[in-house]
């Protein structure tokens, strides 16, 4: 019964911090659009439970010149894999 959380706005919105207040262990987080800026901040990602997988949308990171700066804990995926992740989790909670 896990949940995929998508975060699509930049770190100034504190969306990740809000998400972490109610995320369950075993859920996953996917950074898309401006949310991908979170993916190159290892310090911000430290707050995420180790049981939660972290993904970043490759296309959005490539566009923003941050693909090579992704933290080690972030798995880079494409849109096709985004769809697959939706299938692997029971529901999707979008943070925007």
């Amino acid at each position: 019964m896990s949940c995929l959380h998508t975060i699509s706005k930049s770190p100034g919105t504190q969306l990740l911090e809000s998400c972490l207040k109610i995320i369950a262990s075993g859920d996953a987080i996917l950074f898309i659009e401006d949310g991908t800026y979170y993916a190159n901040s290892a310090r911000k990602l430290e707050a995420i439970d180790k049981a939660c997988k972290i993904y970043g949308l490759r296309e959005d990171m490539l566009a923003r010149a941050i693909l090579t700066k992704a933290a080690d804990s972030v798995e880079l995926i494409d849109t096709a894999r985004f769809v697959k992740l939706c299938c692997e989790h029971d529901k999707i909670v979008s943070w925007f």
């Binding site: 019964m1 949940c3 809000s18 207040k21 109610i22 995320i23 369950a24 529901k91 999707i92 909670v93 979008s94 943070w95 925007f96």
Partner: protein, 126 residues
């Protein structure tokens, strides 16, 4: 609701996170919840983050030629939505006390919200 002859019941949770008036997310969230209630779904409604500003008593939208969202929120109960929650930490962070709130709110901790999300079929979060 044309496709199904037999009505199905789904647990739908709304997390309303936007302050009222400045943008229309709070209204969109409310409209979706009311529609879900009309179609007899099992609705949870949660005020979280800046969304708790929606449930302050004494709002007067007429001052800015708008409808008063606080009044509209009172229709949640009229539509049979009884599970209405406000996040305790969101209130505390904004220095809002329980006495300032509209009636009918259950104040809950974030752990309870996590459990509500886990038990839901669909979550709208805006």
């Amino acid at each position: 609701m044309t496709e199904n002859s037999k009505p199905q019941k789904s647990r739908i949770t709304f997390i309303s996170r936007a302050a009222p008036y400045g943008q229309n997310k709070a209204n969109l969230c409310l409209d979706m919840a009311l529609a879900s209630a009309v179609f007899e779904q099992d609705v949870n409604y949660i005020f979280f983050g800046d969304g708790v500003y929606q449930i302050l008593k004494g709002q007067d939208g007429s001052a800015i030629e708008s409808k008063t969202l606080g009044n509209a929120l009172e229709t949640l109960e009229l539509y049979g939505i009884e599970k209405i929650y406000a996040d305790r930490q969101s209130l505390e962070e904004r220095d809002i006390s329980e006495s300032e709130l509209l009636s009918g709110m259950q104040i809950v901790d974030s752990d309870s919200i996590t459990k509500i999300i886990e038990s839901s079929d669909t979550v709208f979060n805006l």
